[in-house]
Amino acid sequence: MEIPQIRTKPFGVHAVLVEWPVEVSELILNKILQFESFLKIQCLEGANWEYVSAYNSLLVVNTKMTIDYVSFSKELQHWYASMGEAKPYKRYLWRLPVSYDPGFGIDLDDISVQLKIEISELIRLHTSHVYTIYGIGFLPGFMYLGGLPEVLEISRKATPRLKVEKGAVGIAGKQTGVYPQESPGGWNIVGNCPVPIFDATKKEPCFVSVGDQIQFYKVSRAKYDLHKIEVEVGIYQPEKIQIDA
C-alpha cells in the first residue's frame, strides 16, 4: 500500500501544520492518528507538545518554546518516513442513545417533507450508520462526524436558530452531530442525546477522541429521562466497543 505523502507548513513560531492529501477518508485519518501517536511516544519528549488533528491535518504545537521551522519540518518528514506500521491509539465505537421524540426532533417534519422520506425511515437510516469523528472543535466536545448516508444530506436552515438545546442531534450537509452545549446553530434538529459529550465535572471532560466512531440508537422518551437521571447522579456509563483491536 502506498503511504500518503505529507507536507508541512509553518504556523506562527510555536506550531507546525502537517497536511495530508485533501480528502475525507479513514485511511488518511488513520495515518494522522498513527503519526500523532508515534510523535508522542517516540519522537517528542516533554510535556510542552500539544496536538490538534482534524480531517487531513495535524497541528503540532509547542506551548512554551519557539520552533525552528526549517530543521523541525525536516525532522517531521524523517519521522514520518521511518514510522512504519506503528499502531495507532485504541479507538472505540461509542453507542449513544437518542430520543427522536417530536418534542426534541423539532425539524423531523420539515426534513421528512424536504427529503421525501418517512420519519421512521429517516430515524432508521440515521441509527443504522456508523459515523467517524474527523475532528473535535467549534465548541468543547463538538464532533465533526463523517459518514452520513447520502439520502439524509440536507442544507443548513436558511436562518440559524439563536438557541439550540444542549444535546440536540442535528444533520446538515454531509455531517451529523450533537450540540454539546446550548448554542446558536443552523443544523436541522432530529432528536436529543441525554449523554453529555462534554462534562467539566469529570476528570476527563470528553470521553470521545478524534478517530473514534459513533452510532446512535433510538430510545423512548421514558428511557431518555432515565438516562438523564443516571447522568445526573453519575452512574451512567457510555456504551463502548473497542475497534481495530
Binding site: 507548513k9 509553518p10 504556523f11 506562527g12 513560531v13 510555536h14 506550531a15 501544520l17 497536511e19 485533501v22 475525507v24 500539544e50 496536538y51 490538534v52 488533528s53 482534524a54 480531517y55 487531513n56 491535518s57 497541528l59 504545537v61 506551548t63 474527523y134 475532528g135 473535535i136 472543535g137 467549534f138 465548541l139 468543547p140 466536545g141 463538538f142 465533526y144 454539546p180 452545549q181 462534554f198 467539566a200 471532560p205 470528553c206 477522541s209 478524534v210
Partner: protein, 279 residues
Amino acid sequence: MLKILKSGFYTSVQDLGRFHYRNKGVPVSGVMDELSVFKANALLENEITDAVLEITMTGPTLFFQEETHIVLSGAEMSATLNNLPIVNYKVYQIDIGDILSYGKLEAGFRGYLAIKSGFRPKVMYGSSSFFKPITYGNRLMDGDMVPFKYKEIFKPKISEIKVDSFLGETILKVHKAPEFDMLTEIQLQVLFSKDFTVAKENNRMAYQLNEMLEGHSHSMLTSATLPGTVQFTPAGKLIILMKDGQTTGGYPRILQLTDKAIAILAQKRQGATICFKLV
C-alpha cells in the same frame, strides 16, 4: 479573599492558559495581553503562570479582606486605592479593608490586577482561567469572592518600573499562515497597504475588522486554528481569533499574529486602527 463589590464590564480571572485540551475543542484561554502581565507578575516576584484579574473597559470595585501586595498593568484605567490615585507597574501594599476602584479608561482596553502569589480560584484542567463551560461562568459577578494566598512578609526587590507603553502601537506583525498562498495580488495589496479598524464584534473569542478584502471561493477541510490566527471568510471579512477562540475552523487562515501583536490587539477597542506587517 478579594470581594467583588461591583464587577465592572467584563472582569475575569486568567493565567497563561489551559493547554492539552484543544483536541477536545477547549480553547486555551488565558490573559489576552501577556506582555503586560509578565511585567506585573515579575514585579511581585510571582511565578510566570500566576493568575491575575483581567479587567475590560470599565473596571470593578474591589474589597480586600486580607493583607497582600498588588501591581496594576496594561490599560490605563484611572485606578484609585482608598480614593487615592495609583499608577501602573508599581508595587502597592494592601491592608485589610482597602478598596480598589477604577475610573475613566485613558488608554488601552484591558487592565490587569496582579497579586502576590496569584489569585487562586479552583484549577480546572491545569488552569484557573475562566471559560464557560469549564468554569461556572465567563466572568466575575457582583458579590463573588476570589481567593488569594496571604503572604506575611514580602519586600519587593524592585518596587516600580518604567515601561515603554505599547498601548498606542498600531502595527501588528504577522507570519504567513497555512492558506496565505491563496491570496491574489489585489488582496495582498489591500492587506498590507491599507489600515483596518476594529469592528464592534470584538471580545475574548475574536476581533472582527470592518474593512474587507475582495471575497473568495476557496474551500477547505476544517483544520486547527490558534490564538492570533487571521481567518478570511468567503465574503472577504477578516476575523482574528483571540484567546477564547475556537480550536478548529473552516475558513482559510491567511496570517498568524506574533505574540506581541496579540497583546497589542488585545488593547484595542471598537474603531481603533491597525495594520499588518509581515515579519
